[in-house]
């Protein structure tokens, strides 16, 4: 059977490719409503994976199930597995606090705390009992987020004094400060102007050397620019999101295997 050989090939590739996150047949429900239906995506270490698809197709829901942020919605539940470094995030003993520490998240709109720039970055290390030199950690995180030069002289200023693009890079620095093994980004540029968007995209490229990133975007050009792999999702008649195609970004954009992907890429719907 073709299906079996494909599955076997995928399994063989996973071993070869150092898979950090393996989403297996994941479905997410809100009460009776199924938002995501049977999605499987393997994510390779130090790669950027983008999730694209029409709005409402469950991209953000899928992303939020990767660090158990969906737990905050009382009616949400999942079926399937999310293996992170080989451990199932939804195994009975799995601790969402620990998972969120290891899987960082950057949100749609910049959401700095109403605190100083320094305190924003130091928040994660502080609550996690960091005993090393906090100043160094903050500086290093801000440097990684390409924000250090702009804010080094005003670390005590309120984070709200920064521009939108700077705030989003501050949120990225805040995420980096706890040294996550995987970073989730939920349309991180949707509230930003084109120049700030380019700065974030450059940053994603640089971060790739040390981190693995899964990014949701509604902007196909962005997916093309930043990601190594792209997953195209769509929704069925019941508005449940499913995975249409997952492949190397170049492949998806130049030679999609599925008609629906081709239609979406060429702008025929969505």
């Amino acid at each position: 059977m073709i299906m079996t050989t494909t599955a076997q090939k995928v399994e063989a590739e996973k071993v070869e490719k150092d898979i950090i996150l393996d989403i297996q047949e994941l479905s997410v429900y809100y009460g009776k409503f199924r938002a995501v239906n049977g999605v499987s995506i393997p994510v390779e270490r130090h790669k950027v994976v983008s999730l694209i698809g029409p709005s409402g197709c469950g991209k953000s829901t899928l992303l939020r199930s990767l660090n158990r942020m969906n737990d905050l919605i009382p009616t949400a539940r999942v079926e399937g597995k999310v293996l992170f470094q080989g451990e199932d995030l939804y195994a009975p003993g799995a601790d969402p606090i620990d998972i969120r520490f290891r899987v960082g998240m950057v949100f749609q709109k910049p959401n700095p705390f109403p605190k100083s720039i320094y305190d924003n970055v130091a928040f994660g290390p502080r609550i996690n009992g960091f005993k090393g030199k906090l100043d160094d950690l903050v500086e290093e995180s801000l440097r990684q987020a390409a924000l250090w030069d702009e804010v080094k002289d005003r670390l005590k200023d309120s984070a709200y004094a920064l521009s939108g693009g700077q705030q989003q890079r501050l949120c990225i620095a805040r995420t980096l400060a706890v040294r996550p093994e995987l970073i989730l980004m939920d349309e991180p540029c949707s509230a930003l102007d084109p120049i700030a968007t380019l700065a974030i995209e450059d940053l994603i490229h640089q971060l790739q050397e040390q981190y693995t990133i899964v990014i949701v975007t509604h902007n196909m050009q962005q997916a093309g620019r930043v990601s190594d792999y792209t997953a195209f999702m769509n929704m069925d008649a019941d508005r449940a999101g499913y995975l249409v195609e997952y492949d190397a970004t170049q492949q998806i954009f130049t030679n999609p295997q599925d008609k629906r992907t081709e239609d979406y890429i060429s702008g025929r719907f969505g």
């Binding site: 290891r102 949100f107 994660g124």
Partner: protein, 311 residues
Amino acid sequence: MTVSLPAPAAVRRARSRSLLSRATEWVVERLLLVCAFVSIGTTFGIVAILGVETLAFFQQVPLFAFFTDTQWTPLFSDKHYGILPLLSGTLLVAGGAMLVALPVGLLAAVYLSEYAPVRVRAVLKPALEVLAGVPTVVYGYFALLFVTPILQTLVPGTEVFNAASASIVMGIMIIPLVSSLSEDAMSAVPRSLREAALALGATRQETTVKVVIPAAASGIMASFILTASRAIGETMIVAIAAGLQPKLTLNPFESVETMTAYIVQVSLGDTPHGSLEYQTIFAVGTALFVLTFLLNVVSLGVVRRFREQYQ
């Protein structure tokens, strides 16, 4: 066919009707204006009545003595008119009530806003509001006849009338004031801030203490100030349970007298209009009014500021 024009009489009737209705509109609007002005008139009336009688009071009692004399004995033969003992009694009882209401109310607000499942919240929140709806005279009964005997066993030497039992019971009564206003302030903190903290691996407790409460600080502060104002103005609990002895003391197990209780005490007697005793309650009332008014203004100002915070 010709269209028949309305008869002149009918036109005249219609015009007079429209004149009448215009007159009605004019009168109604003036009447409604008067209704709206009753509230302004109330404030004006309070200031005027308190002002006139207080001025008359200060023509006989020097302002300096009023603020520095450590005795308040207008009803005795050796008369002293120092507000300090009444003020200290008021602050002692109100302070004690705040000691109960602030931590309990704030924790309840935290629970209702950050922890409680939707259904539990739907039951507990209105149930808690009931506390504020029970008449204060009922709390007075409870303080004097239930709490005081317990205090007397726990702390030997507690007087029958004491500040502590009034404080405790008043503190319970004003819990909903703290909790509902603080909860409003915490609910106004955007969800995205909570998510940011949780996404960094913070627990709910850490998110609450380090993000939500600091972000809601001014709203919570406003609720504290408003509650203080309410505690200072509360009358029946203290009149029943805290006693009627103006005393400059910080011992909560002794009997004291608050400003409000003094007004009640004099009102229960038969003081002739125009006498100095009669004027004392207006002087005390003015002090009370100014104190609570300032607290209310500060609190409203703080609330207004916190509303603009996330714009």
